[in-house]
Amino acid sequence: MTVTELSVESSPSNRLTRGSLIRLRFMRNRLAVAGVVILVLMFVAAFIGPFFSPYRWDELDFEALLQAPSSKHWFGTSQIGGDVFALTVRGLQKSLIIGLLVAVFSTGLAAVAGGFAGFLGGKVDRSVMWMIDALLVLPSFLIIAVMSPLYRGRTWLIFVVLLAAFGWMVTARIVRSATMSLRERDFVRAAQYMGVPARKIVFRHLLPNVASILIIDATLNVGATILSETGLSYLGFGVQPPDVSLGSLIAEGTASALTYPWLFMFAGSALILTVLAVSFIGDGLRDAFDPGSNKSKKKVGKS
């Protein structure tokens, strides 16, 4: 990222560079930092946790059915003797991977679609916008649920592709309007008059300049994706058994959650904490990149 590249040693004054300012502002935001810590812990739990767990997630302990948390089964066991810790960690892993993959894909798609639509304008723009409008008429949740039989029994990557394919529209709109205003900026005009081709202008000048929007949106998209993924999985339209996600774990746990709270409590908390952490980070990034956006800016007249 350009944030780090921006710090140039031989700065004439001791002004702060943009990169270090952003870092400084982000670090000052306690919630955002807490978000990073929580998210790191979640990743550690999801990817390193399994190595320390005495049980595998698909292993059944027939001697311990519906046991409360203990030193043997840290988070207790399920009706059929599954280790809830191993299951939760596995579900967390799946939800995190899906969240990340979809966020990267959909933001990338949004960047390209929004970038070209905004820069080229005209027919390209109209058709992209029309497609976005059409896709926004139907909540993506409904479409993906309808298509869920298509990936039942196949790889979960199809699910990822669908989530990404129906999750890029709002970001694309934002990118589009940002590029549309950048397009009128003189450095883009100058490049045009130097004969730089459109593709190069979009990738070299426009997208790097909306990088902050892309980073913020990618972050927030991780949270949004985890919310839709778990929702679909909760209803059985997402991650398919035997595999588990936080959503399907919660669905299985709720039936008897009043008497056996550990069945759903851990997965539920992991879910809320993860999404909360991601939105704190996204918000912190927004504040850091564009301090005016969220704060009071009772300004004094420009010169």
Partner: protein, 680 residues
Amino acid sequence: MTLSVASNLIEIRNLTVTFPSEAGIVRAVRDVSLDIRAGEVLGIVGESGSGKSVMSLSMIGLLAESATVTGSISYDGVNLLSLGDNAMSKYRGKDIAMVFQDPLSALNPVHTIGRQISEALHIHNDISKEAALARAIELLEIVGIPRPAERAQSYPHEFSGGMRQRVMIALAIANQPKVILADEPTTALDVTVQAQILDVLKTARDMTGAAVVLVTHDLGVVAGLADRVAIMYAGKVVEIGNVDEVYASPAMPYTIGLLRSIPRVDAVGSSRLTSIEGTPPSPVALPPGCAFAPRCPAAAPQCDAEIPVLAAVSPTRLTACVRQQEIQGLQTSGRLFRDGPSHVAAPVSGNAVALEIRNLKKTFPLMKGSVLRRRVGSVFAVDGVDLTLREGRSLALVGESGCGKTTTLLEILNMVAPETGTITVLGRNVSELSKKQRLEMRKDLQIVFQDPFASLDPRLPIGDAIAEPLDNFGMPKSEQDQRVMELLELVGLQRDHASRYPAEFSGGQRQRIAIARALALNPKVLALDEPVSALDVSVRAGVLNLLAELQEKLNLSYLFVSHDLAVVQHVADDIAVMYLGGIVESGPVEEVFARPQHPYTQALLSAVPIPDPVVERVRKRVILQGELPSPANPPSGCRFHTRCQIRASLPAEVAARCVSDRPELDSRHASRVACHAPLN
């Protein structure tokens, strides 16, 4: 120390305003003491960031909450700084009123104009709704809004910028204030509108008898209006006094440099400009002593040792300079500032034509609706433009915003066949170029834009930005570096700047970078779109001088687009005046400036304020009536006939032709003019 005069309305003592910021403490106003006398016009002049706005906002108690303010501002025996928001609001609008810079955003978009003015009356008076509205309409009439009763029902977005500024003045005088603070009231406006607004401001003062504090960066604007003027630099008043005295014999080096660095529209022949080196200091990292020391040609060690305080140089003038005594001597011996090159015009005839435009037209569809847009008409942005730029010369295209200058420029640079007319660059008609030839042609025609903060990609080190055109035309990487270094030196920057990002440079430096980039491919023609109007006054001269040097060194032809006639007078050989999409007059600069043929040219020239109080006060002004008509619905016949100042006094038969026939550009004397009744 201040000069004391009996009737001080406002006394500012040791005012210091600071703001916290990430980079450190911003010292916006530093220990300023100043009086405002009843009924006077006090001009406060300074570059952007010098603390003018902060000072005026502190007088009306509207500083940001983050501000730390010390010192005192007394009005009517009360220290305004000690008042809370509720107590202070009794004074705001009643005793102290304010007109802000940007009229477009200063009015509430969802309430009618009438309602916003009546509200100002209701706040401080106990009057009925009807009476308030009637008075609001009266006020609109006073500030020159036609059909005031009807317009009172309109919303701000239905008003032009100039009209909204009139509304702001109406708001300011609604309650007969004692002081009107006007913070850059005309900066966002065109010169002819600026002349109108300054006129309205005068009316407002005569009517209310209020003191006016006129804050501006333009030494010309205050010259004709102010009684006294205060010059600010880096948060301090560095010179203050009687306006004639300050302009005629400035005593502080900054004032001296500033006055010598601004071009004058009434200059005769080729003028020379002084450029002040460097840029104003950052308000978070001020020099220890005199803030001007890093740029001051007279700076001596003692300047860094102490902060100079205002001291009297005459009964009516104070100056803050440690070497006050010696300055006069330095100045007369010519050791203070060196003048830049004077502009030498290339010979008129015999030169090949670099750029020729004939009957260029460009219309934009006029769209309406936000969801389903539809075409409801056409905007005639450029409607029959003729231009000729000869090699080695500078042609200035001037006109007010919205007249079609930029569209003309962009049409030329697009290098595609225009809607109507022909564009010939270096002897080749652009309509006949193949794609490859067009790309090749781009090498010869490059552009420098107005806003140096927008014209460089903030994410690209400037070396890469300058190399972009080279790269694009296939220069090997190894040679690119060499060329980038050459270019940096050519525009007066250092080689090691190449790896830095635009954010690390000031406006003037960035404009130099943009010039270097435009020169990378050795173009023959350079289009300059308002190249200095976004720059601080004190750095403009430097860039203008650079452009003059480069032209001579590289034999460049300039197409110089500008709204600033003083700058045009300084740099251009030829001028073309544009009004509502068409050229109304063109010819050599000296000729057109000395003997304008077209009424619009005359009005435009007379609207430009001259930084000389003596000239300014006696000068007879033509103040145009009305506003620029919409290019979507241009007037018939002569486009200018709705505002023409001479048409009323023409014989009826000619006046009728003005409405029915569009005049052609006709040769008269040395210039060409499109008017049925040329002036000279």
